[in-house]
Symmetry: D2
Subunit: 340 residues, 4 copies
């Protein structure tokens, strides 16, 4: 997130907060930086504040652990902050938009139903959900998606640090990620749901998910089968993917990929090492479209779990919120007119 | 195969054959040995013969490449040899048993329909098929299996040497294995088929498969969903797996695992590195049984692709053929009564 | 250790101890078992005791963390127990033998100098030290070793659980292991030291070490250069390795490998995956002997870090102590005469 | 190379050549592209020519296999082309500069001694040599380097495609790379050699090398020990690295890194995954400087083997040749004055 914010045209980092244990230390000493790019200079020397007390900044990105995120995010919203969160806690709250900007930008209107004093909470979905929903959205819009079977092969960076012990995953597969299958089976229903009268009615969609951890650094791969609302040709499906754009591209949001979904026409692709950085890590690669003897079609997707699936996705949510003026009087953006 | 034959109580290695290029050389110079166990001493100095000309041994194990196996295996059978093959060429021939000894031992009777002069061909299924069929067999026998969705995470040893380039698979997943999905979708139908009047009627089963290569040395992992013939409890399913034995165990075949299928009751298991050597690599580990919102049940299996899925499986086929006296006058076993 | 003790001809597991947190729980619930072989049945249900209070068993194997091992091991020795330790705390104590049974079995006599009340402490060296010392010992005995440069490529299992985070080591090398270089530079001097009048004079040997962690599950690989006491031929060196045996083999100790050092004559070997299980994991593979332009000779070794380098090494130390009757009145072995 | 040339400010790709087998095909069909970045568009549709017949371009980059490079490069030079080669064939030719632009730019004068008709051959050193020489150069210039011990942990991309089989390197180390140790022991002597009267006198330097392949995608790591010409402090060494620049930076060559050598002050760095892209892959990261009990100092380096160690290094050589006007009348650069 810090790497993506560095040089962002709209947003400038004001503060970094962490638990009491790290508060008061300089960022580069408090954090364990594991990215190949160096710590942005102005962040390195920033003093880490404690999470909780009021901040002056209007927009907060939360990567809090689920054990702390629930109440901390609500409190910040009460204090008038707009919180864009990667935590799972508020994702299924009826008045919190579970936002994939290309897919359900209108769900941002839910924010008006939130009863926080001026602030708001916007939820970024699970890292696997985002990749799947982006690949399904063009099909859902064009043909309707009724049933989905998905088996994931997920990267180790999805578990953060220290995350998965190397002794568990080198030369191995772990066919389990706590809570992940449930998220993949429920979040898409809300994201594809209809917003009417301030309420999201879940889409009539059934998803069955099996999740695996594999020895890949970055990039989640999904093997998906779908039953569509009507019979279509492979060409129509590929065309739906290739022509899909969405509001972020239309609005020219800084983090929007030129093409959110890219069909890759090679027999053995997409692959995580080859395609995770597509569209600066914000696009989803799809390939291997073929008939399924059980449902209708099968295909494979790959997307970057820590960019599109986490920090980059949250950034795009914030950009959309600002561009849509979803939040009245967002501090620092009151009279601003960002965008091209 | 050579490592497994070393010290086998029934069989003794007589000859090793290869292409003209290797013929005439001593085995340890002709072969690229990559196993952790050393080359069995009596094999190391054995002179490699050319594949083709007649041999004195009655039983042949074929690991020929598919480009050569078709005709070579037929010719050896014509010459009176019993050929147990890992190649795909004859698997779907109507009169060739596609044999998983615990599952369809009666299919060995097909051999009587073969028109070779005294010899015979017995086919060992694909390495992924074997693991899946063993896990499905107890369910099929007890409840009927109607529909199967399977996504595989397959080890690199399945591609042999040189196989997959390291530059393609380290920190990566390849969502494609040539011909593999077709094998997983067709072979189980023959294996589960009914033998009547010398003909196998394919089982009325639909399988949809997606195959992936992952950076694991040995051990194929399968994420399986099934629709069964009737509603059953999880306990009944686990009991079907745990109580499954089959003819090889009953006959005390040397390579038969004590329990062909073992249910592992940990939330994040089975795992290939932990379970591939179960039952000396001849058993299948199953775990994570849970409901499936699309079909009925989901679970995960792991089995050793080069032992159970190849050499060990072929050896067990040969042992069953001998014990069942499936082949009249098999040279070297004419009057023999192997077994305990 | 538990896996190696299972079925041991001399020793039978009596108790398992751990911190207060685990005490009182059944072993299989208290421990995180990560080996491919299952937990030995009689251990699985054993109640874990707290480390500290007296035990009835005479022989204790300590795999305590260095933060606890120092005092706990002394206290157990005071209580009359013989403690064979994998911890680093007492390794350099003047009266504690730092034991590689094939190399310095006479150092066991140091135990007589220990002032514990009947008990004793015997130290197993660092996992990398053991592999290096075994490879150097035949050269040291035959020609004298004066200077050693060693660069290690160490397996992740050496760091235990959780150990190295997968996010740090997949597609990566970590050129640092805390404290490891110091151990490799100092422990060999004591092991090769002369025991006279109850004192070990360190060998006049200089070692320079650089240690790396690599994405290998088991097996430490060492790139070694040596300066010998005199000019010798490659044949003489290989002969020294191949003919090396030592006291454990002579005494027929249960865990002694038939050949502690095996020279592998292939241009690209030894390799950890291929050779770590040599001699049931108790032997060291050596290869690639060639001239060094700076010192005299260069070569590569591989050995199993958790078997020979830890549990198996400690077991061999205990077997030697029993066979040599190094400890008077060791409980359970008072009148025993183990061995062939 | 093609990815680096895409958008290069001085050079524009004119032709691509390959063996007869590929000639006549469009590039994207003839090549197996494995990079995460897509094939540059104008290259994708370019028709591949046969290597051999004359070309119109003045500057050629050769990545030919050593079996073909020797004569093909000479022939192109005879025809008047300037050939910058990654092949090993001409590296040790007395009149061919073995060029690391920051280290021995004056060696370009050797080109004048070449007897080709207007053309020339410039050799890019081995991928490991470049990283080592860049790290040693500041020490050599400031203090003199007399003896070097180096153990490499090299990435799989160094072997190209198909290169190392995955079955050989996953969960493994291969302690051997054909010809590599010899290159590391001889090439630095020529690179650090003095050019006088058109002859390079090799530097009086002794290097001992051991080379290993490890399961890392990109980035060679070297564990180096050095004996210097005089006693110096750690500060002086680090200062020599940090202040090192060289002619490419001074000339503002497009591919020159701002700082060719960067000292990383963390106890467990440099690491290949973290530092291989330093300076767009053109810089060398150095760390862990400490005393060596055998020589004087020990340290670790990491550099990108396919960028700095191959394509990027060759490009920098070509840029230097152009900027220095090393080659009279280089076609396409006759009157040009590239650079800022």
């Amino acid at each position: 997130m810090l790497a993506l914010l560095d040089g962002h045209p709209w947003f400038r980092l004001g503060s970094v907060t962490a638990s009491e244990r790290s508060a008061g230390r300089v960022y580069e000493e408090a954090a364990r930086w594991v990215l190949p790019t160096p710590i942005p200079e102005e962040v390195a020397c920033m003093e880490v504040r404690a999470t909780g007390p009021a901040l002056t900044e209007g927009l907060l990105f939360s990567a809090l652990d689920a054990s702390a995120a629930g109440s901390a995010e609500s409190e910040y919203a009460e204090q008038g902050h707009v919180v864009v969160s990667n935590a799972r806690n508020h994702r299924m709250d009826p008045d919190v938009p579970l936002l994939v900007p290309e897919v359900n930008p209108d769900h941002l209107d839910l924010v008006a139903r939130q009863s926080f004093g001026g602030g708001a909470i916007i939820a970024n979905p699970n890292c696997s959900t985002i990749g799947m929903v982006l690949a399904l959205a063009p099909l859902h819009q064009a043909f309707g998606v009724e049933r989905v079977n998905v088996v994931s092969l997920q990267a180790i960076s999805g578990a953060g640090m220290p995350g998965v012990a190397s002794l568990q995953i080198v030369d191995n597969v772990i066919p389990f990620i706590s809570g992940e299958e449930d998220k993949l089976e429920t979040e898409p229903l809300k994201i594809f749901g209809e917003l009417e009268d301030g309420l999201v009615t879940p889409a009539p969609l059934t998803v069955s998910a099996q999740c695996n951890r594999v020895p890949v650094v970055d990039g989640h791969t999904l093997c998906i089968s779908v039953k569509l609302g009507r019979a279509v040709s492979a060409e129509a499906i590929i065309d739906a993917w290739d022509s899909f754009r969405g509001e972020p591209t239309a609005l020219g949001l800084p983090s929007a990929p030129a093409r959110p979904v890219v069909y890759v026409d090679e027999p053995d692709q997409p692959q995580p090492r080859m395609h995770r950085d597509l569209g600066s890590g914000m696009a989803v690669a799809v390939g291997r479209l073929r008939h399924c003897p059980l449902l209708d079609w099968k295909f494979v997707t790959t997307s970057h779990n820590t960019v599109r699936g986490a920090a980059g996705g949250a950034l795009l949510c914030a950009e959309l919120a600002v561009a849509r003026r979803a939040v009245e009087g967002l501090r620092g953006f009151e009279g601003a007119s960002p965008g091209p």
